[in-house]
Amino acid sequence: MKIHEYQAKAIFAEYGIPVGKEKIAQTPKEAKAIAQELGMPVVIKAQVKVGGRGKAGGIKLVERIEDVEPVASQILQMTIKGIPVKKVLVAQAIAIQAEYYLGITIDRSKRKPILLASAAGGIDIEEIARTSPKKIIKQIIEPQLCLLPFQARNIGFKLFTDAKIANEFSDIALKLNKIFFDKDCSLVEINPLALTTTQQFFALDAKIVFDDNGLFLHPELKAYEDYTDEEVLEVKAKQAGLSYVKLSGNVGCVVNGAGLAMATMDLIKRLGGEPANFLDIGGSSSPEKMATAMNIILADKNVKVILINIFGGITRCDDVASGLLSAIRGLHKTIPIVARLTGTNETLAHNILKGSTVIPAKTMVEAVQKAVALAQQRRANQ
């Protein structure tokens, strides 16, 4: 689960990581009131959970109080990478001497957390990793011990000659480490960590991603939930035991198993179509679940055809078939459905679907071919 910058900063503040003076606003008027309280100049920052906000024009420095309302209003009307901006963070602008990077994530191949630090802060860490990997200091963290003070100190002294500044930096690293372990994070990141002209550190930006699998250990994190419209659909799917991700094509898919669902999307693309979604119905397949799956897919207006690809194991094909039939009965519009049901109880399933409008297919390739052809045909007819 990703959270907003302002939410991550609240956690930083709780752990004693220095953050600037700033407040969240939902209207231009609120933004102005905050600016008046903080004093000019201020930085107004769009709160959307995607990278590249600055490049998209979602972060603006404002010098004069009379400009705060129009700038805030402009940012609040923006959509960044498809996500509408609903809140802005109004922050007191500070005089920066240098910007650093500090983050902790998981090194999957070493199966351990890793701390990354760099004097080349402010830009994308992946970019630094690509162009000048030597500028990144890495420290593997032993999971039973967490980041040790001497390790944090050594990083501080690699980056700074001034002992006081080096110590402050390592202190921040240790606090970041504590958040990472306390809250079961996948990522905690300060980019940039600014050193001001008065030799103080401030987290200018903050990013925290919580491990979805660890959320049940931290009920307090529920308060940070704030889903976009698209995510709302994904969450709704999840509550029904489905896993859904919207894509931009027109072939809607219902598949059992994440790997097979991805392979189905890939085959659609390979055979000239565009998948509208990823949807894994999981291990069991009650009629209700099928109906929910169909409704979620049909909420996407681009969908021209539905492709069902089931390899029955634990999932019984007859369950899917009867679920499909009752889902079709409840539909408010007609849409072609191609179904490939193989494995456990497939003969029963085929008998159930006999006489229905569902177009049968024997193999995955045949099903995808039929669905792609139908999608193209329906598009041409429009």
Partner: protein
């Protein structure tokens, strides 16, 4: 021959009295698996399908001489169940449970490094040595005893691919679902080693997906060490970045872990890339008799 599990595998089911545990215990028994004990703390003394239930893995092992366990307990208790199986010194533990916290897994893997127990999973469909034993949730009927070793991060996609291997007449030596999580007990390389030294395995199929770089590491290993023909499939070529595709580990982050990178790693290691599951049969024909 097969790897990791065979007809002599003596299995404990942890969470045998739960809905999933009971269901799959019956299915494994029907396949011929020697399920010798179940464990559910507090339900010791009961019977499930004639299988005795114990309060602890230690007691179950002591009473039945079991060497392997499969875990069906909820995510909240799964990590503890794995530690318990490791403490009882079983050879192999298979964790089917999905949703195990990543940091807890990281700590567990650190603990496991000098222990004799091998962990498969979590979030794994288990493994099968066809016509010998099934320690998992896969439908047994699609597999046939044979000479192709299969290692996969997926479940149903593996069934799809194995059904083509079976139809092509080759069959499988052992099929292992290593699990869809970012941190798992056994990775591709561990199993490539085992398949490489198994005389009955003549070809190996790797079924990977987006996220992490296990496939790239596996490719490097294949190039250096494996002389048997290796085939590879990667799911998720059309997956968007920063979106989890069902599995916790199937996510492209920071532009890393894409299908494209993995496919090119396969190609440069001499692994024959399969672009759609049904191709595996004809590709195997070009390399096997």
């Amino acid at each position: 021959m097969s790897i990791l599990v065979n007809k002599d595998t003596r299995l404990i089911v942890q969470g045998i009295t739960g809905r999933d545990g009971a269901f799959h215990t019956r299915s494994m028994l029907e396949y011929g698996t020697k399920v010798v004990a179940g464990v559910t703390p507090g339900k010791g003394g009961q019977l499930v399908d004639g299988i005795p239930v114990f309060n602890s893995v230690y007691e179950a092992k002591k009473a039945t001489d079991a060497n392997t366990s499969i875990i069906f307990v909820p995510a909240r208790f799964a990590i503890d169940a794995i530690y318990e199986a490791v403490d009882a010194k079983l050879d192999l533990v298979v964790c089917v449970t999905e949703g195990v916290p990543t940091l807890a897994m990281i700590k567990l893997m650190d603990y496991l490094k000098d222990k004799k127990t091998r962990l498969i999973g979590p979030n794994s469909p288990g493994l099968i040595s066809p016509e010998e034993t099934k320690v998992g949730i896969m439908p047994g009927q699609i597999f046939k005893k044979g000479k192709v070793g299969v290692i996969s991060r997926s479940g149903t996609l593996t069934y799809e691919i194995c059904s083509h291997i079976t139809q092509a007449g080759y069959g499988e030596s052992t099929v292992i679902g290593i699990g869809g999580d970012p941190i798992i007990g056994t990775n591709f390389i561990d199993l490539l080693k085992l398949f490489n030294s198994d005389p009955e395995t003549e070809a190996i199929v790797i079924v990977g997906e987006i996220g992490g770089n296990d496939e790239e590491e596996a490719a490097k290993f294949v190039k250096r060490k494996i002389k048997k023909p290796v085939f590879g499939f990667i799911a998720g070529q059309t997956a968007p970045p920063d979106k989890r595709m069902g599995h916790a580990g199937a996510i492209i982050t920071g532009g890393k872990g894409t299908a494209k990178e993995k496919i090119s790693a396969f190609e440069s290691a001499g692994i024959e890339v399969i672009y759609e599951p049904s191709e595996i049969g004809s590709k195997l024909k070009t390399r096997l008799t």
